[in-house]
């Protein structure tokens, strides 16, 4: 059933972010949606209970108002109890409604928080090679949006769907007290509506599929052109792309309207039956009052009874409308669930054995506790992976385990990619280093030549921008080296001298071999001069290409 009053929103993030990865990893997992339903079950029950209470009070209000108005007009009596009842039921309906809304909001918040806690744990444990298969931007955008989208599906939409079952039933029961025939008339509308929904659903799906086929790739053209704007400018293509963008967005908007024209018929059906039942019941009840027609259940009623049926008839269809309004949560939530599955799937392990030139076996235990160890080999041989396994960052495999001397405090990793917090230079060097004394920071900074007033004015108090944006690669590297001067564990470095100016590269070589006197330094490198100073040198062979397996 395709129900929506606002068909734009389901498309919202799908095109830019979410649809991209689901296509590739389309295996059916249920690691997010199922657990989320379990996590939200208690809160959902609570929300539903309050929503049922609201519906009951609302029915009570309708009854009291009908009695008050009906008796006033027909009997000329002012029924104070009915007025008090109406006011009381109205206030109670409002309050229970407020509680229901807040319960739903709280449950969704708790669920989203719970999902994020799981995501955080999954991210913290995830091996870098797997984490890097996703672009950081897509990952962040997903973390910001997916938990909320999934919570909306599990709580909001589920509650609305359940109420679509309960609400009309309660309303029909209330009407049945007055006239079971009228109740039956209302209930009869449901299967007829269902039939229309089914018929329309097919048309909408086929139109949506046609749109996807003919115009699907135009869906996110605006986002794409914003993303690629500098490239467009560099290629002098602004006027051309502007016109193309306008044409394509217009074509896409037109094709969207083709789908919406049918999709809105769904909401139209709800409106139609809601309006029609009021009209039909009003006319039948009116004829009954006049005594012109003797339809059982519509004859011999008092005015308050007719008014009651009329008010309830309007309420009867409200749950359908509410569900239709929230229907867009379905697509968003399901897409989010698919995306979130990725975090909770334990990946298969494809172990790659490492082979070293001139060595039959490589044992982690044989590595010394101090000294400079260089690992070289052609690209793709797995130098970085080996280094990461020894550092305990990647799960162990092929007999390579974490170095025994690495404690839970970890080790140092020198690279231009080190984390540089924003703030001052002193804070950047001393970050995660047990607040070293200023004198020690001063010494370390001086030793690596970071106190150059022309390039980084301010000495230890020099300002470091968010993400270290105002630092050159060389300066980042120097901060990394200054940091190892303030620690004592094993040091790892992956191609530390590549992409560096000659002066910084020499400094790196010097500090690494100096440090190797007291601690273990492992480097993966092509730098001949660095290899020369190494105490041991391992050469990794490229992985053997997979030979065809004979059947």
């Amino acid at each position: 059933m395709w129900l929506s009053t606002d068909a734009i929103s389901p498309r919202r993030h799908q095109n830019v972010l979410t649809a991209k990865y689901t296509a590739r990893e389309s295996q059916a997992h249920d690691n997010a949606l199922g657990p989320a339903r379990i996590m939200g079950a208690a809160g959902l029950r609570m929300t539903l209970a309050w929503q049922v209470a609201r519906t009951l009070f609302r029915l009570g209000f309708a009854a009291a108002l009908a009695v008050f108005g009906g008796r006033m007009i027909e009997g000329g009596t002012f029924v104070v109890q009915a007025l008090a009842g109406a006011l009381g039921a109205l206030v109670l309906a409002g309050c229970t409604g407020l509680i229901a809304d807040r319960a739903a909001a709280r449950t969704e918040t708790e669920l989203a928080d719970g999902l994020r806690a799981r995501l955080q744990a999954a991210l913290a444990d995830m091996a870098p090679h797997r984490l890097r298969t996703r672009p950081a931007g897509a990952l962040i955008a997903g973390l910001q949006r997916h938990p909320d989208a999934l919570a909306g599906l599990v709580i909001g939409l589920t509650a609305a769907r359940t109420m679509m079952g309960i609400g009309p039933l309660l309303a029909a029961l209330a009407v049945a007290i007055v006239s079971w025939e009228a109740a039956l008339t209302l209930l009869l509308a449901i299967p007829v509506m269902g039939l229309f929904f089914a018929l329309l659903g097919g048309v909408v799906r086929s139109r949506a599929a046609t749109q996807e086929k003919n115009f699907g790739r135009l869906a996110a053209q605006f986002a794409d052109r914003i993303r690629t704007l500098p490239t467009i400018l560099a290629n002098h293509a602004l006027p051309c792309e502007h016109d193309k963008l306008e044409t394509r967005m217009t074509a896409y908007a037109d094709s969207t309207m083709e789908v919406l024209r049918v999709a809105f018929l769904n909401a139209g059906i709800i409106d139609f039956f809601s309006a029609l039942s009021i009209a039909v019941l009003a006319v039948f009840l009116g004829l009954g009052h006049l005594g012109l027609v003797h339809v059982p259940g519509f004859y011999g009623l008092q005015l308050w009874q007719s008014l009651f049926i009329l008010i309830i008839a309007a309420d009867f269809f409200t749950p359908f409308r509410r569900y239709a309004e929230q229907y867009h949560l379905k697509a968003e939530g399901e897409a989010a669930a698919k995306e979130l599955d990725w975090y909770f799937v334990a990946p298969g392990h494809d172990a790659m054995p490492f082979t070293f030139e001139g060595l039959d076996t490589f044992s982690v235990a044989e590595l010394p506790t101090t000294g400079l160890i260089a690992i070289s080999g052609p690209s793709g041989a797995g130098k970085s992976t080996l280094l990461r396994m020894l550092a305990g960052i990647e799960p162990p495999s092929s007999g390579i385990t974490t170095l025994p001397q690495i404690s839970s405090l970890g080790c140092d990793w020198i690279s231009t990619e080190i984390y540089v917090p924003s703030g001052t230079l002193a804070e950047a060097i001393g970050w995660n280093r047990n607040t070293p004394a200023r004198a020690a920071l001063q010494r370390a900074a001086e030793q690596v030549g970071l106190l150059d007033e022309t390039l980084l004015p301010g000495g230890l108090d020099a300002t470091i921008a968010e993400g270290g944006a105002n630092l050159s690669g060389g300066q980042r590297m120097r901060i990394g080296i200054a940091r190892i001067l303030l620690s004592s564990g094993a040091v790892f470095a992956d191609e530390p001298t590549a992409k560096l100016d000659a002066e910084t590269a020499a400094l790196v070589r010097g500090v690494l071999s100096e440090s190797a006197r007291q601690r273990l330094v492992l480097v993966a490198t092509h730098d001949e001069r660095l290899i020369e100073t190494a105490d041991r040198h391992y050469v990794l062979r490229p992985p053997r290409s997979k030979e065809p397996v004979a059947a």
């Binding site: 914003i226 009003a282 690669g473």
Partner: protein, 542 residues
């Protein structure tokens, strides 16, 4: 990995551009007004009708009562309500979509003309920043549909009912005025509260995203130091803060909905009470009953109050963000036709990064056609900055660039140069469109593709008209396609940032050689952090 083979299907004639169409807002608003009016009338007339027949049924009037007219009206209103509601949705969405096209093309141009688009690294290359931006654009795009139009319809409905109330049960205006005042106060309270909370949600989410971004960029060193999870903890606590604020926001919305839900029924009761108090009895109560049930129907429509408020708050926040892009637009000069350029003299060009960081002493340089220049230096030494300065993307227009004694202004250098960005993007479009050479023949395109060793890849993809996207190409393939763009460009000033990045060194050198060969009669400057890429070019170390 394979690229989907497909050609653009033109199933329809070219659509009419949005600006030449008439905006259907007026019709949409008309539908919205008619829908709310029919809703009120349907319930009101039904109640009046029931009351009237009930009173008539008690006496001899039963047989003379003309029930056909009210019954016909009831049916009419039922139909118009349904039809107008549908019309409101369809025409409203159509109007919003047309506006969207117009607004977005305008925004695209405005952003292209803002100087920072050229000067700094492109923030919307990041998917999370792009997604935030698109959210903002969308919040503005649909504001009129989600806020403006419903507010107008509800105001009109309320005004009509107030007038009817004044006529039939004027005393009820007092409680209705109190209700209106309460709703106004609630709106003011909720609006300022929710605006504050939404701003805080946006900023915590953004900060959390930035923190996760920098943690992911330093993933391996952080994991080695066992500090990754504590950084994640920090970022995720911001997400929790955002979530808590969202909850507070929704609680405020729940109060708005509570009051909005009470409004219709309370007004209905007030009208009946006031009529009774005024001494109306029997038939005289029928019109008040009509108005009372009209208020009841109106109450149904007000139930979307919190969504209107939410749309309003989001629109304002989004607009504030988007307005920055309209603030300072450069004027784009018409591009002059590329004329041959023999020399380009740079006279003490200041060396300063876009963020104001000093990169070194001012630099003077003479670039000559046929004599490629390579800028060598470690990352962060300002290679990109210098290339952008030469291209006229960055720096003051102060006459420091001359050719044969003529000053080359920023706009001229922009028009004369081809700037191959190191992070050049692939458009979601055909291969041909991605080459940015609308006048090139197929042969020329294929030659360029051949020269960057992409021929087999593009052939399997389906040729020049195959649709490609950024993520079907590897970084190396994207870089090579970018070099094919350079090969097809006839700009006399060729500036390439890291042309061999992401390529293995042998292939990088081969392709660079071909590019340099093709542009032998032009001024070529490229940058590299790899000294091998220097070839026999003039080397400038930064």
């Amino acid at each position: 990995m394979s690229i989907k083979v497909a050609e653009i299907k033109q199933t329809k004639p070219a659509p009419i551009p949005a600006k030449s169409r008439k905006s259907p807002w007026r019709l949409a608003i008309l539908f919205a007004l008619a829908a709310i009016a029919s809703g009120i009338l349907l319930t009101g007339v039904s109640a009046w009708f029931l009351g009237a027949v009930a009173l008539a049924g008690l006496g001899p009037a039963a047989f003379t009562f003309n029930f056909h007219t009210p019954a016909a009206f009831v049916r009419l209103f039922a139909l118009t309500k349904t039809a107008c509601k549908y019309g409101e949705r369809v025409v409203g969405h159509r109007a919003a979509l047309l506006d969207q096209v117009r607004r977005r093309t305008g925004l695209f141009t405005a952003m292209a003309l803002v100087p920072s688009t050229r000067a700094t690294g492109w923030q919307f290359g990041n998917q999370d920043r792009l997604a935030d931006y698109i959210d903002d654009v969308e919040d503005v795009d649909f504001a009129r549909l989600r806020v403006g139009m419903p507010v107008l319809a509800l105001t009109a409905g309320a005004a009509a009912l107030v007038i009817a109330t004044a006529w039939f049960a004027s005393l009820a205006l007092a409680p209705i005025a109190v209700l209106g005042l309460a709703i106004g106060l609630m709106h003011t309270w909720a609006s300022s509260r929710v605006t504050r909370q939404w701003a805080s949600v946006r900023s915590s989410r953004r900060t959390a995203g930035q923190q996760i971004g920098s943690a992911l960029a330093a993933l391996v060193p952080l994991k080695a130091e066992r500090a990754f999870s504590s950084l994640l903890q920090e970022a995720f606590s911001l997400f929790s803060a955002a979530e808590a604020n969202t909850l507070a926001q929704r609680c405020a919305f729940a109060f708005v909905d509570l009051l909005a839900g009470l409004a219709g029924p309370l007004a209905a009761l007030s009208v009946l009470l006031a009529a009774w108090h005024a001494g109306h009895r029997d038939d005289a109560l029928l019109y008040p009953a009509f108005v009372a049930f009209g208020w009841l129907a109106f109450g149904e429509s007000v139930q979307t109050a919190s969504r209107i408020l939410q749309g309003h708050v989001r629109e304002r926040a989004a607009r504030a963000g988007l307005d920055d892009w309209r603030a300072t637009a450069d004027t784009e000069s018409s591009s002059t036709s590329p004329a041959p350029l023999q020399t380009l003299v740079l006279d003490s060009i200041p060396r300063q990064a876009p963020d104001g960081r000093r990169l070194g002493d001012a630099m003077s340089l003479t670039l000559r056609a046929g004599q490629p220049t390579v800028l060598v230096g470690a990352s962060g030494t300002g290679k990109t900055t210098l290339l952008k300065q030469i291209a006229g993307w960055l720096g003051a227009d102060d006459g420091r660039y001359t050719s044969d004694g003529n000053i080359l202004h920023t706009a001229t250098r922009r028009a004369l140069s081809y700037l191959g960005l190191h992070d050049a993007a692939i458009l979601s479009d055909t291969v041909r469109a991605n080459l940015f050479a609308p006048d090139a023949t197929d042969d020329a395109c294929w030659q360029a593709i051949e020269a960057v060793e992409l021929r087999p890849r593009i052939e399997t993809a389906g040729g020049l008209d195959a649709w490609i996207t950024q993520d079907v190409l590897s970084l190396g393939e994207a870089q090579r396609l970018n070099l094919a763009r350079a090969l097809l460009s006839d700009a006399p000033l060729m500036l390439l940032d890291e042309p061999t990045e992401h390529l293995d060194s042998a292939q990088g050198l081969r392709i660079l050689e071909r590019v340099l060969h093709c542009s032998a009669d032009r001024i070529v400057v490229y940058s590299s952090h790899n000294e091998q890429a220097a070839q026999d070019a003039v080397q400038i170390t930064l």
